[in-house]
Structure formats: structure tokens, C-alpha cells
């Protein structure tokens, strides 16, 4: 049996109290670091259980238009990796929920992979999602994460065969992130029987908690997922709300989800 990471433990503990957890996502430095902080504060206050902090990258290949633009704007405003670490450190100190980094491999590679993991560890980040780093390319990263007892989180997709799900699960800790459909972030997903079957398949191929993302954006979506997964991930939608109605509107939006 694998050893449970702090992240997995926190998730399991939280699940004891709630039948589904909510993870939200922001792009650090978009539209500014101050706004990032304000949004996280509001989200936590609104009842979010986990936070995914994206360190902006110039080539976010797996992201759809909303997050893509957020990455570009953050960089244009001058966001650096160093600032992202500083802000994340402040957030982990101020708010008592697990924080994860999401970013692309080049950010780790240029920072130095083991230095990146050490820095995560030092500032209280509990896990990382690196969507362009399959386990086959990421041995150094996996080794460093395991050594630091942090959680490397991998992704299941509707295209992933069962044996590969098990391979990904074997290389993951904390939880498994499943994407509800093909495509990039921020597009609509059909919440259907087919999705239920797929989530059951995911569950049967990992003993880790399951998060589901890509297209979750309403209370109904979350209700649909209740009992099928451990964590619902709201990504692009909160950025969309913020862009449309301002930073202050995010809190209200999250409250409608967890109410």
C-alpha cells in the first residue's frame, strides 16, 4: 500500500464531513497579484476546499481560451515565477486549505526540478499538476515529489485505457484529476449517463480520491457529481465571472455552488 500524503489525508478528512469537495482555480497574477489574493480570500470564505494556483506560462498548450488569455495577461503585466512563489507562500500561510500548483513543465525545468519541488515544500504547496509531463518524461520530478512527500497529480481522460489509468495512479499521490471530456479547459461538458460510467471506470482504476474538472460551472453540475467523485473542480468559470462582473463577484458565484 502506498503511503498517504498530507494532501490525500486532508481530502479524506474533509470528505468525512462533506459528500463532495470544491476545488477552484486561479491564474496567479491575473489580473494582478493583489486581485489573486483577494479572489482566493473570497473563495476560501465562500467555502472552497482546495485551491489550484496556476503559475502563468507563455505556451499553455492544454488550456482553452479563457485561461490562455489569463496566462498571457498575467505575463504581460510582468508576472514572474518568483512572484508566484511569494504570493503562494502568503496564501498557504493565511488560508487553511490545501494549495496546489498547476503549471507547465518548462517552468519547473527552467527553475530546476528539484529546486522547484523544494520551494513548493518550503512554502507549503501540497501538490502539483503538470499537464504536459507524462510519467515517462517525469522521473526526476516524481522522485523529488515523493521524496518531499508532496503529491504529483496526474490526469485521467476519456481516451485513457484502463491499464494506463493504473499506471498513472501508481505514479500519483493526493488525488487523480479526471477530465470530463476531450478538448481543452473551459468548454461545455455533457453531464450524462456516459459520464457516470466513465467516472465509475476511473474510480475502479485508482484507490486515490477523484477530482473531476473541465466544464463544471453550476450547482446542478456539482449535484450530478455528488457520490460519483470526491472533488468538483471549477476552473475557467470563476475567471469568466470575474472578467464579467469584477473580482468582487467571485465570492457570490462560489456561494451559489456550495450553498
Amino acid at each position: 500500500m502506498r503511503e498517504q500524503t498530507t494532501l490525500e489525508q486532508s481530502i479524506r478528512q474533509a470528505r468525512d464531513k462533506k459528500d463532495i469537495l470544491l476545488m477552484t482555480h486561479i491564474v496567479l497574477g491575473y489580473p494582478s497579484f493583489d486581485d489573486s489574493l483577494r479572489m482566493v480570500e473570497d473563495m476560501v470564505n465562500a467555502g472552497v476546499d482546495l485551491m489550484e494556483l496556476q503559475i502563468p506560462f507563455s505556451e499553455p498548450m492544454a488550456d482553452g481560451p479563457v485561461i490562455l488569455r489569463a496566462n498571457a495577461e498575467a505575463l504581460k503585466a510582468g508576472a514572474t515565477v518568483e512572484q508566484s512563489f511569494k504570493m503562494a507562500e502568503r496564501m498557504t500561510k493565511e488560508f487553511d486549505i490545501p494549495f496546489l500548483f498547476m503549471t507547465y513543465y518548462n517552468i519547473l525545468f527552467c527553475h530546476g526540478v528539484s529546486r522547484f519541488v523544494d520551494d513548493c515544500s518550503r512554502i507549503g504547496i501540497q501538490g502539483c499538476i503538470v499537464p504536459d509531463l507524462p510519467p515517462a518524461e517525469g522521473q526526476e520530478y516524481l522522485d523529488a515529489m515523493h521524496a518531499a512527500k508532496l503529491s504529483p497529480i496526474h490526469i485521467f481522460t476519456p481516451n485513457t485505457p484502463a491499464d494506463r489509468m493504473r499506471h498513472l495512479s501508481d505514479n500519483s499521490s493526493g488525488f487523480i484529476y479526471t477530465v470530463a471530456r476531450k478538448g481543452v479547459t473551459g468548454k461545455d461538458t455533457a453531464f450524462s449517463d456516459e459520464l457516470s460510467d466513465y467516472l465509475a471506470l476511473c474510480n475502479s482504476n485508482t484507490d486515490l480520491p477523484l477530482a473531476v474538472g473541465f466544464g463544471v460551472k453550476s450547482r446542478e453540475d456539482i449535484d450530478f457529481l455528488r457520490g460519483k467523485v470526491d472533488i468538483a473542480v471549477v476552473g475557467s468559470e470563476s475567471i469568466r465571472v470575474m472578467e464579467q462582473d469584477g473580482v468582487g463577484a467571485v465570492k457570490g458565484f462560489i456561494e451559489t455552488l456550495v450553498a
Binding site: 498548450m61 513543465y105 494506463r164
Partner: protein, 414 residues
């Protein structure tokens, strides 16, 4: 998904999980095609009936004597159907797409050359086709867009990022992750995740195989040096591959020196030392990036060389010293192009003119007993808007202004 496709420390396949099975399928199909002799035969047949392979080698009689030194020969990839070496790659991938039973192709394009080639292939094979092109490039390269649309392709102007080639690649991947079941992504150069660098190089190796035999037949000896421009690296890999085991043949890759050294001024990843190793667009190589790993703006007079990364295979050959890398400046390139047009009646693409510029610089220092070979990867006559601006032709401006006035009048009259 195997951990393969490395060339010393470069290469790999850094891809979103959702594409893993697609890459597995592609790699299998590619390996099976390599095993199957009939595949290459069919490829050669297609290239010799639909394009005009073997493309000839032309001796530059006038410039060889004007410059003194080495005898200059040119491999004429400009004579390919659609006007560049890009045809070799797309036709090969077209055959592979049909083998995989897919019905739709997508591609990125910078200068538009690869987009036109892919749209052409799609028309020929009966595939649906979508081409991603940075919005900046769409605006600059309307003639190519026009032909792609005439071929039935949908051209999507990418308004993200720097609105150029790398952003078009990102967008193409975004399409692929939604439509991998029926769609093949026809990557245009020897970059990207494994097996693309190797596969594209394989299709382009037709250039090198022909060239080696032709040079031997013609001169009874191999060339002393072989020059190719390097954008992503496909035409260079193509011609170099014919001479890779001939250790006496020096291979010279010529990158876009733009306005000179310094961030944002050029696109020389290997000749200058502004680039560092990184991972983006699915592979590991030298990138023009900042310390955080964010890609930087690049500049070149030629859209086709204006790219942040470079073939991982070339990075490894740079490391091993098998290929020497140089950079040619915008000004030298425009001069080399004009000189070639004026004295030989050949119109090298601005991309290809980088190789000409470097060859012209080196030829005078060589002996008359030596031959050099330049890969003329494409012709410039389709890039007239770019070339006319590069040589700053006032009559061209006048023509465009008059033409615009005529259109406005017609539209007013209608």
C-alpha cells in the same frame, strides 16, 4: 507511450495525457510504414508524379565565377509542387493519414507555405482541412490564405499570444485534443513531440538521398560543404541526412540572424547563445526564452524561420559538432536573394536565402577543387508582398495603392 524519441538530451514527447493514445497510434503507424517497403515506393511514386521529384541540381555558373573559390550547386526544392520542400513532408503524412483511416487534417503555418502544402495535400486526398495561422501572419500572407481557402481549407486566424507560428502550433494542439479520433495533425517541421521530428526528417530525407547521388554522378565527388537554412529544421534535416555518414562533408545550418544578437532581434537558437534548453510545444530543445522559461519574441525577415525552437535532432548535432550553425542577418539575406535573382534567374525564398548568404560568404575562401551544395528550400515568388517590402520597392507601393483605390471605387459604385 514509451520514453523514446531522444537525441542525446533533446526531444521526447511532453504531451497532454489525452493525446497519449493518439501519439501511440501515430508512432505505430509510422513505424509500420517504415517497415513496409511498399509505403516508401508509393511515396516515391506520388512525389514523382504529383510533384517533380527527383528535383534537379543547378550549378550557379555566374556566381561561382564572380565569387571565385568553390563551385556552387543548388538543390532545387523550389521546383516542388507548391513551391517548397514542405510538399515532401505533407504528402508523406497524407499517405500516413489515409493509412490510419483518418478523414481530417489540421496544421499550423507561419509563412503560409506549410499551410498551402497541407491544404493541397488535403484537396488531393479528399480530407477535410483546417489550418491554424497567427492573425499577424494571416494579415501579412493573404495570398497564401487565399489559395488555402480556394483549396477548400478553413483558415483560422489565431489571435492568442504573439499571433505567429508558435501560437498557431498551440492552437493546432488544442484542436487535436478535441478531435483526435478522426483528425491527424500534420506538423510542418522536424519539431514537436516524438515521433514528429524523426518522421518529418524521414520524409524530407528524400532530398538528401537524391542530392548525394546527383552530386556524385555529376562531379564524381561529394560536396565539401552543404548549406541549409534552419527554421524548425526540416529542410536541413532532409538534405543533411544524405551526407550524415560522410564525415568529410561539412554540414552548415543557417539560422535567422535578423537584426543581430539580443533578445527579440533574431531567431538564432544555436548560432548565437541567446537560447537555453527548455521544454515547450511538446519537446525539449534550445528555445529563445527568458530565465523563467517564458518564450520570447523573435524576429526575422523570413516568416518561415521566425520560430522560438529548433529540431531536437539538430540540437543534438549541434552538441556533437556534426553540424556547424551560423546566422545570416536580414540585410545579408535580402542581398543574397537579390544577387541570386539578378545573376542566376533563381528566386530563392527569403528562408532559403539564408543558406545562400552563408554560402556566398564562405565560397570565396574555398578552392576551385571544392563543390558546395545549397538547399534551395523554396521559391519566393509567392511571397511578393514580403519581398517587395524587404527590397522597399516604391513602384509596388504605388501599384497597391492604385489597386486599393480601384477596389474602393468599384465598391462605391456597386
Amino acid at each position: 507511450m514509451k520514453n523514446s524519441g531522444y537525441y542525446s538530451q533533446f526531444g521526447g514527447a511532453f504531451i497532454p495525457e489525452i493525446l497519449v493514445p493518439t501519439f501511440d497510434e501515430l508512432e505505430s503507424a509510422y513505424l509500420a510504414a517504415r517497415e513496409d517497403e511498399s509505403f516508401w515506393r508509393e511515396y516515391l511514386d506520388l512525389m514523382s508524379t504529383y510533384s517533380c521529384r527527383a528535383t534537379p541540381i543547378t550549378r550557379l555558373d555566374n556566381l561561382s565565377s564572380q565569387l571565385g573559390g568553390a563551385n556552387i550547386f543548388v538543390k532545387r526544392e523550389d521546383l516542388n509542387h507548391t513551391g517548397a520542400h514542405k510538399a515532401n513532408n505533407v504528402m508523406g503524412q497524407g499517405l500516413l493519414t489515409r493509412r490510419m483511416g483518418k478523414k481530417r487534417v489540421i496544421a499550423e503555418t507561419g509563412a503560409g507555405q506549410h499551410g498551402v502544402a497541407t491544404a493541397t495535400m488535403a484537396a488531393k486526398f479528399g480530407f477535410d482541412c483546417t489550418i491554424y495561422m497567427g492573425a499577424h501572419d494571416v494579415a501579412r500572407q493573404r495570398p497564401n490564405v487565399f489559395w488555402m481557402e480556394q483549396m477548400g481549407a478553413t483558415v483560422v486566424a489565431v489571435t492568442e499570444g504573439s499571433q505567429t507560428l508558435k501560437d498557431a502550433i498551440n492552437e493546432a494542439f488544442r484542436d487535436w485534443v478535441s478531435n483526435m479520433d478522426d483528425t491527424h495533425y500534420v506538423l510542418g517541421t522536424a519539431c514537436g513531440p516524438h515521433p514528429f521530428p524523426e518522421m518529418v526528417s524521414w520524409f524530407q530525407s528524400i532530398i538528401g538521398t537524391e542530392s548525394r547521388a546527383q552530386m556524385l554522378e555529376r562531379n564524381d565527388r561529394l560536396p565539401a560543404r552543404v548549406y541549409a537554412c534552419v527554421g524548425g529544421g526540416s529542410n536541413a534535416m532532409g538534405i543533411f541526412s544524405g551526407f550524415i555518414d560522410d564525415n568529410d562533408v561539412e554540414l552548415v545550418g543557417v539560422e535567422a540572424g535578423g537584426r543581430g544578437r539580443g533578445a527579440g532581434q533574431h531567431a538564432a537558437r544555436l548560432a548565437y547563445d541567446d537560447a537555453t534548453i527548455g521544454v515547450a510545444q511538446g519537446y525539449k530543445t534550445y528555445f529563445l526564452q527568458d530565465r523563467d522559461g517564458q518564450m520570447q519574441d523573435t524576429h526575422s525577415v523570413s516568416a518561415g524561420l521566425d520560430y522560438v525552437g529548433v529540431s531536437p535532432i539538430l540540437s543534438s548535432m549541434h552538441e556533437s559538432g556534426r553540424v556547424r550553425f551560423e546566422a545570416a542577418s536580414d540585410d545579408d539575406v535580402v542581398n543574397a536573394m537579390q544577387r541570386t535573382v539578378r545573376h542566376e534567374g533563381l528566386i530563392p525564398a527569403l528562408e532559403s536565402s539564408h543558406a545562400f548568404a552563408q554560402a556566398y560568404r564562405e565560397a570565396p575562401g574555398m578552392s576551385a577543387e571544392e563543390d558546395i551544395l545549397i538547399n534551395m528550400s523554396g521559391r519566393a515568388d509567392k511571397d511578393i508582398f514580403t519581398v517587395a517590402d524587404a527590397v522597399d520597392d516604391p513602384k509596388w507601393r504605388e501599384f497597391i495603392i492604385d489597386k486599393a483605390d480601384a477596389y474602393k471605387q468599384e465598391m462605391g459604385d456597386a
